[in-house]
């Protein structure tokens, strides 16, 4: 399931409900990304605003989810990504995957986050006391996503 929404979500409630009651499930792996308020050597963050491209966001996330399901034997997947203004300590994104065994769950969870970081159309605007600035993309995110590329056959 893909959810793109503005409201804050409850991490515990979402993970508790995910896959509950499915007897095939042997493992859930999850990742939660939070708004980081403090980075050494930079002014403290006041707020983070996520802009996105409605329509394309859902379309890209659905494609990423379908790719994960094609690569690993997954039972269920959940991707929640917020947009709008949020404060340090609030969750931004949650990815959870369930499978019969841990290996597929771990790998698929990492794959979903790596691909989401480079393909889902979201942009972060950081607010500090000295103003607002768009976050620049990191080359390391491309490197992380690239390692999932299948070699051409």
């Amino acid at each position: 399931m893909i959810r793109v929404e503005e409201a804050r979500f409850d991490v515990g409630a979402e993970l508790g409900a995910f896959g509950a009651g499915d007897a095939r499930m042997g493992a859930v792996a999850s990742f939660v990304g939070y708004v980081r308020g403090a980075v050494a050597g930079t002014p403290p963050l006041v707020a983070l605003t996520l802009e996105h491209y409605p329509g394309m966001t859902e379309r890209q996330l659905a494609a990423i989810e379908a790719e994960a399901r094609a690569r690993w034997p997954l039972i269920d997947t959940l991707v929640i990504h917020r947009y709008g203004r949020m404060l340090p300590g609030e969750p931004i994104v949650l990815v959870a995957v369930s499978s019969a065994h841990r290996q597929a769950a771990f790998e698929a969870c990492q794959f979903l986050m790596d691909w989401l970081k480079t393909k889902a159309p979201f942009w972060k605007l950081e607010e500090t006391a000295s103003g607002a600035q768009w976050v620049e993309a990191k080359a390391s995110d491309d490197t992380a996503a690239d390692r999932w590329q299948k070699s051409a056959s």
């Binding site: 491209y53 990504h81 994104v93 393909k119 979201f122 942009w123 768009w134 993309a137």
Partner: protein
């Protein structure tokens, strides 16, 4: 065609979306971006370094040689930074 701009491309161009009718010879993404640069200083500033411009046609990522047609929804934006 409908143009959409996001993040700092939006703020530099000064609007989030608009409908434009480029000349008929504008047939590819690369030609469209080159034409947009001529529309004003905001466009020129936003599109100065095309290595930082990602393009989606009808909500799918495309390269510079991809065709553009009347009726398309074409989005220009910087590399994504979600997650």
């Amino acid at each position: 065609m409908k143009l959409r701009y996001f993040a700092w491309l939006r703020t530099r161009i000064g609007r989030g979306e608009e409908t434009l009718d480029p000349p008929a010879e504008i047939a590819t993404v690369a030609a469209l971006v080159a034409w947009l640069k001529t529309l004003g200083p905001g466009y020129a500033a936003a599109l100065a370094d095309t290595r930082l411009v990602r393009v989606a046609v009808n909500q799918d990522y495309v390269g510079p040689d991809h065709p553009v047609r009347p009726g398309d929804e074409i989005a220009l934006f910087p590399p994504v930074t979600g997650g």
